[in-house]
């Protein structure tokens, strides 16, 4: 499927499919220029891209769980057994 219309401009519906490539830096140069030119003139897509960035940051800040104390103790025992058998 061709993503670009013959005019060389991308549509909003196309842009939302390219966001990850854009953010990963894997969008080829010409497409990157088109992408950014579209953003310049499109407040909705600018909001959309911003929301994708917020989503990614939010995912990265989900509080870390910690492991169960019971499981941790069991591992500590397993480690000591392993160490004993090693020598």
């Amino acid at each position: 499927m061709r993503l670009w219309r013959r005019t060389g401009e991308i549509t909003c519906q196309e842009l939302v499919e390219l966001v990850t490539e854009y953010l990963e830096g894997t969008l080829p140069g010409r497409d990157r220029v088109r992408f950014e030119r579209h953003l310049d003139g499109c407040p909705y897509c600018t909001i959309y891209l911003d929301q994708m960035r917020i989503t990614i940051r939010t995912l990265g800040r989900l509080p870390e769980e910690t492991i169960e104390p019971g499981a941790r103790d069991a591992l500590l025992d397993a480690f000591r057994d392993w160490k004993r058998e090693r020598v």
Binding site: C12, Q13, E21, E65, I67, A78, W82
Partner: protein, 214 residues
Amino acid sequence: MADDLSEERLLVDAVRRGDQTAFMRLVDDLGPLLLRVARMYVPSQAVAEEVVQETWIGVLNGIDRFEGRASLKTWIFRILTNIAKTRGGRERRSVPFSALAGAGGEERSVDPDRFFPPGHEQARGWALGPTPWEGPEESLLSGETRKTVLDAIDALPPSQREVITLRDVEGWSSEEVRNAMDITETNQRVLLHRARSKVRGAIERYLNAMEPTT
């Protein structure tokens, strides 16, 4: 977690020498992730916990053979997925691309109804564009919104869930994820894109539902 290679080397050497603190540091750093990933393969939390325990035993028994060709966490992750797949009984690794092909290259990031249809003068432009998310970003991490994000991750097809968990929640590089999951760069990116788009959509639906209606 030791991102730095030499630091990783030191950690591995310490574990080999029987340094309990070093081993437990590894357990504390990677444990929650391993449990989360194990949970994607096996039917219950209890089995997932067993898989993680077995993984750490496998790590100890194999640590002398670890050569540092892959990063330590990639190596541990592979031990985990091997055990988890055996225990899970279902061969998930053969699934991802039916998930990719099945739902089609046609899987959309945004409901097509939100764009003007072909033929319209603004064809494929936003008809119902997104509205900015109000309030501090931190509020997305609390209470119900956080649950919305976690539920959205849980609802993803397994391969998408695995990629977004490793990349965005855990902060692995795309190369590390590709190595750990044995997938191509393109597939990794497609899975990541679909997963992120769905999580964004879930946050949006949640926030829009919260807006007072007049």
